[in-house]
């Protein structure tokens, strides 16, 4: 791969929301739950640890066989199952000498360490967190900004998702990638009763995604589905597209796919919306995120 010359490359390892969905009707867009890697030069960060982190771990472990262990940074948007379930299957965690740093919100009642350790409790999983061979360190975000290698990262808490979540903005090589999943933008941009708070949240969101080269965002529901899933913490496709376009986003990856949606349905949505925004002013490239794809910016 020509990683040398590229500024930033993004790989989707898992794009499905809520629960993994194996089967012939989901193999194109994928059945693994959220995991995205962002690489720039020699720096890589991993966003979320859904079941998609397993194939990524296999790839990294193979690389470590030749290059030796190298540090891994996993940033968690939140700790709902679909975003952490792959963690016990992340092979580098079992490789001695690997520094594995897992970052998450500091705004929770329980410590991140106990939440993550909980899913590896003996009743759920045969290997306990403290038994992992890697040097695992679990950190709660202390600041709204951090830097990992060549990548500058802005961290912002999101509301309008049960329990909250975090969005990330990665800046590297002059490009901006935003990862903002698990949020009900409809409740912010199209609330029943607009308030100062919703207006402020809307402005914060617009500022955060402003002119992003790539926005990876929650677009779980079609418009008609949203009417029945109001308050569930996810966004409808047309609203997302509209908000992203108004903020001057250049490329939008619709993400966190509903487990009920088939490949044929995403093809249909794609055919319906992609040309509208391709021909808009300014043009915005919209696609439905698909497992196994790497794009470069």
């Amino acid at each position: 791969m020509n990683t040398e010359k590229s500024a930033v490359s993004i790989t989707f390892w898992g794009t499905r929301g809520s629960i993994s969905t194996p089967g012939s009707s989901t193999e194109k867009y994928g059945g693994n739950t959220p995991c995205v890697s962002v690489s720039s030069g020699r720096s890589t960060i991993i966003l979320d640890a859904g079941t998609g982190i397993r194939p990524l771990g296999i790839r990294l472990a193979a690389q470590m066989k030749t290059d030796g262990p190298f540090p891994q940074h996993i940033l968690l948007s939140h700790t709902h199952w679909d975003h952490i379930q792959g963690l016990p299957f992340f092979q580098p965690a079992y490789i001695k000498g690997t520094d594995l740093v897992i970052y998450g919100s500091s705004q929770k009642e329980r410590f991140l360490e106990s939440i993550l350790g909980g899913q590896m409790d003996v009743n759920y999983f045969p290997v306990q967190m403290k038994e992992l061979a890697a040097n695992v360190s679990i950190r709660e975000f202390e600041d709204r900004f951090m830097r990992i290698g060549d990548i500058d990262i802005d961290i912002q808490e999101q509301v309008m998702h049960p329990g909250g979540s975090i969005r990330f903005k990665m800046r590297t090589g002059g490009k901006t990638v935003v990862y903002a999943t698990d949020i009900e933008l409809n409740a912010i941009f199209s609330p029943d009763t607009p308030t100062d708070t919703t207006e402020q949240l809307a402005q914060e969101y617009r500022d955060f995604i402003h002119h992003a080269d790539l926005l990876i965002a929650d677009g779980q529901y079609s418009e008609s589905e949203y009417a029945e899933k109001k308050g569930w913490g996810h966004t409808s496709v047309p609203l997302l597209l509209n908000v992203a376009h108004e903020a001057g986003v250049k490329q939008l990856a619709v993400f966190h796919h509903d487990p009920e949606h088939s490949d044929a349905f995403f093809d249909l949505l794609s055919r319906q919306y992609e040309p509208v925004y391709r021909n808009a002013v300014p043009p915005m490239h919209v696609f439905w995120a698909r497992e196994g794809i790497t794009i470069e910016l």
């Binding site: 791969m1 020509n2 010359k5 490359s9 045969p126 490239h285 196994g292 794809i293 794009i295």
Partner: protein
């Protein structure tokens, strides 16, 4: 705490985890991938062209303008060394090999993509339709 007690009792008296279940269960992955499927690329160099069918033989293919490429596409907008197709772990993968104008799969500019049935690859003005059909 009668309820708690009965729950605790249940946990403790229940059979100790069966080692086979304690580890991850193996999924019959073979059933999801048809190893005998035939894979093709239908290559169309210009819009009005009749496609040329190439059967993919589970080996790497180079794609580019240079004559010794496995798939030579001598067209404007195509780099000498444009892309390649790889066969890895039962999957066909396309990679851009540093082309100037990019490799697109269903309209998305990619640097790497695991191919799925009916994907349309665009390289310059050429389109390559990838199909995977079960062998009857």
């Amino acid at each position: 705490m009668a309820i708690m007690d009965s729950i605790n009792h249940k946990q403790k008296s229940g059979s100790v985890a069966d080692p086979a279940l304690a580890s991850t269960m193996r999924l019959p992955l073979e059933e999801l991938v048809d190893p005998d499927a035939e894979m093709h690329l239908d290559i169309r160099v210009a819009d009005d062209d009749r496609p040329q069918r190439l059967r993919l033989m589970k080996r790497p293919y180079s794609i580019g303008r240079k004559v010794d490429a496995d798939i030579t596409l001598n067209q404007p907008g195509i780099s000498r060394n444009h892309a390649r197709i790889l066969y890895l772990n039962n999957e066909e993968i396309i990679e851009d090999t540093g082309s100037t104008n990019g490799t697109y799969v269903n309209g998305v500019r990619i640097s790497r993509c695991v191919l799925q049935n009916n994907d349309i690859i665009r390289i310059g003005d050429a389109t390559l339709l990838f199909t995977r059909t079960p062998r009857k």
